[in-house]
């Protein structure tokens, strides 16, 4: 059985097509990542799956329940963390948690085991108003609130956006722990490097799914040759590499430039001598494996 199944889901707002024929199958107990930039349609898909809006076309099922007809059933078994920081700022940490427990007819103590790992980090601040928490702590509180009724499936819409790298890392550690308790997780993020932390991912761009696979398979499907190129004058290096023929993509990645090219047309030695002819110094060309961002950009272009 799939925890989420969609068949040809489409949705438009006036003349903007937010989603076009989305077909997804999310397996039980996996962390499934929906990866894409802002405006790709991630939130729209989340809202359809959490029964908040109706699709124009197609059908979707969460834990076997139809999102349109059986919305009441779904609302009992999902935990949802919307994109915006959606907590009551004028209530304390503890009061927020108690409230969200109460609307699911449960109590914090009843499901304490489920949230223990996250909530224990927040407990020293339980009397603090939610509005006074830092970004990372707000995010943990929001997750605790979404988990407090022990849902069967968690929907997390961009939980890590705007959160610093340390809190992001901690957050993913927590998600893995939650997954181990058997809860399926459907999560979206604009940070490509987080895709590698999911069991399977779907790349989404302009309302369309580019690919669905495990991070490993996505990387092995990157057929171009990829090299990290460095030289002293990076600014000029980009311009010169872009002028080169048989080059698929030239993008800066941190301190080096990722160059993807067709090895049948040009080989690294030829690139090296080309760069030398352009008077570059300290050139290094190293063949590398693609990361998720390389893959996403390639799929975007296709």
């Amino acid at each position: 059985m799939f925890s989420i199944k969609t068949k040809n889901i489409s949705k438009a707002y006036k003349d903007v097509k937010a989603l076009k024929n989305i077909n997804l199958n999310v397996k039980e107990g996996e962390i499934f990542g929906l990866i894409g930039p802002d405006g790709a349609g991630k939130t729209t898909l989340f809202r359809i799956l959490t029964t908040l809006i109706l699709p124009d076309k197609g059908r979707a099922f969460v834990k076997g329940y139809d999102v349109v007809k059986k919305y009441k059933k779904i609302r009992k078994i999902v935990g949802y963390m919307p994109g915006k920081f959606s907590l009551y700022q004028d209530l304390s940490v503890e009061e927020n948690l108690n409230f969200f427990a109460s609307i699911f007819n449960t109590t914090v103590s009843e499901n304490y085991e489920t949230i223990k790992d996250i909530y224990s980090q927040l407990e020293p601040f339980k009397k603090r108003l939610a509005g006074r928490l830092s970004g990372g702590m707000k995010q943990k509180l929001a997750l605790s609130c979404a988990l407090v009724h022990k849902p069967e499936i968690l929907f997390l819409d961009e939980p890590t956006t705007g959160v610093d790298a340390v809190s992001r890392k901690e957050f993913w550690d927590i998600l893995n722990k939650i997954k181990n308790t058997g809860i399926s997780i459907f999560v979206s993020t604009p940070y490509m490097e987080e895709a590698g932390l999911c069991d399977r991912v779907a790349f989404i761009q302009k309302g369309e799914i580019l690919t669905v696979d495990t991070p490993k398979n996505i990387k092995s499907n990157f057929h171009d040759t990829l090299a990290a190129v460095k030289a002293d004058n990076m600014y000029k290096l980009i311009t010169d590499l872009r002028a080169l023929k048989a080059v698929q993509a030239v993008f800066r990645f941190g301190k080096s430039i990722h160059l993807s090219f067709d090895i049948n047309v040009i080989n690294p030695d030829e690139i090296l001598s080309y760069l030398k002819s352009k008077e570059h110094n300290n050139i290094s060309i190293k063949k590398i494996d693609p990361n998720m961002e390389d893959c996403f950009m390639k799929l975007m272009k296709d």
Binding site: G36, P37, D38, G39, A40, S134, G135, G136, T161, G162, V163, D164, A165, V166, S167, R168, K169, P190, Y191, M192, E193, Q205, Y235, I238, F251, R252, F253, G254, K255, E293, F296, M297, M300
Partner: protein
């Protein structure tokens, strides 16, 4: 660093809100034409520092000057020489591209002719000439951010503050955006940027990492990696802030 090349000078800056110390005895300098990455944990005090540097918030104590102007007494002069762009506020969504340029150019007292000339120049660089009369809200996020960056430069400022300019932008546009940042820095404008993308930290000439009101580290990405014996800024960041 030669003295005349220093654009931002911060000495023992402290800012308190009531009993809470948001910025704690901070000192650093930023050079002309430099891309300075201002990193930090959420709530570390980054926004407070930026507000002080922009002249919209007064320090509790310490000396701060931007382009030689004092942040206590010469805020009006500072404001004329800076550009600011953030993810939250950048452009008027219900105005057209050109109307935004004209409005912000007008704020800085540029003549109509000059605004037109510069708008045309920016739109040509962006390849968006045919979008001149499009309403901002109809454009994709990536374009908006690029236009916002151009609008922030319309008055030819000495320094531009970018507060998480690439948050949520797709990877290709994100790099195009950084290409723009390079071009701007190349023309001599200082770029002061915050980001949560750690790979972007590597694009900066120098970075600082801030936590709990203090700067934990400040140097070029290469030097920091040598110093902390790590191969990425992300790892250094996590090491320092944890």
């Amino acid at each position: 660093m030669t003295r005349e090349n220093i654009l931002i000078k911060v000495n023992n800056l402290t800012k308190k809100f009531g009993r809470f110390t948001a910025v704690d005895n901070l000192s650093f300098e930023v050079e002309k034409g430099e891309i300075f990455g201002f990193l930090g944990a959420n709530g570390a005090g980054k926004t407070t520092v930026i507000k002080i540097l922009c002249g919209i918030l007064s320090p509790s104590s310490g000396d701060v000057s931007v382009d030689g102007f004092d942040v206590y007494s010469q805020t009006e002069k500072i404001k004329k020489n800076i550009g600011y762009m953030s993810q939250n506020f950048s452009l008027y969504e219900d105005l057209s591209v050109y109307e935004n340029f004209r409005f912000f150019g007008g704020i800085y007292g540029l003549p109509r002719k000059e605004i037109k000339k510069r708008t045309d120049y920016f739109l040509k660089t962006l390849g968006l000439q045919d979008k001149k009369d499009s309403v901002i809200s109809s454009l994709p996020l990536g374009w908006k951010q690029k236009i916002a960056f151009s609008v922030a430069q319309i008055h030819n400022p000495k320094i531009i503050f970018l507060d998480e300019p690439t948050s949520g932008v797709d990877p290709v546009t994100r790099r195009q955006f950084w290409d723009m940042i390079y071009k701007t820095a190349h023309s001599g404008i200082t770029v002061f940027v915050t980001t949560h993308y750690m790979d972007e930290a590597e694009y900066c000439d120098r970075i600082s990492i801030m936590d709990a009101g203090k700067i934990k580290a400040i140097d070029t990405p290469e030097n920091l990696k040598k110093l902390y014996k790590e191969n990425s800024i992300e790892k250094i960041f996590i090491k320092l802030i944890r």
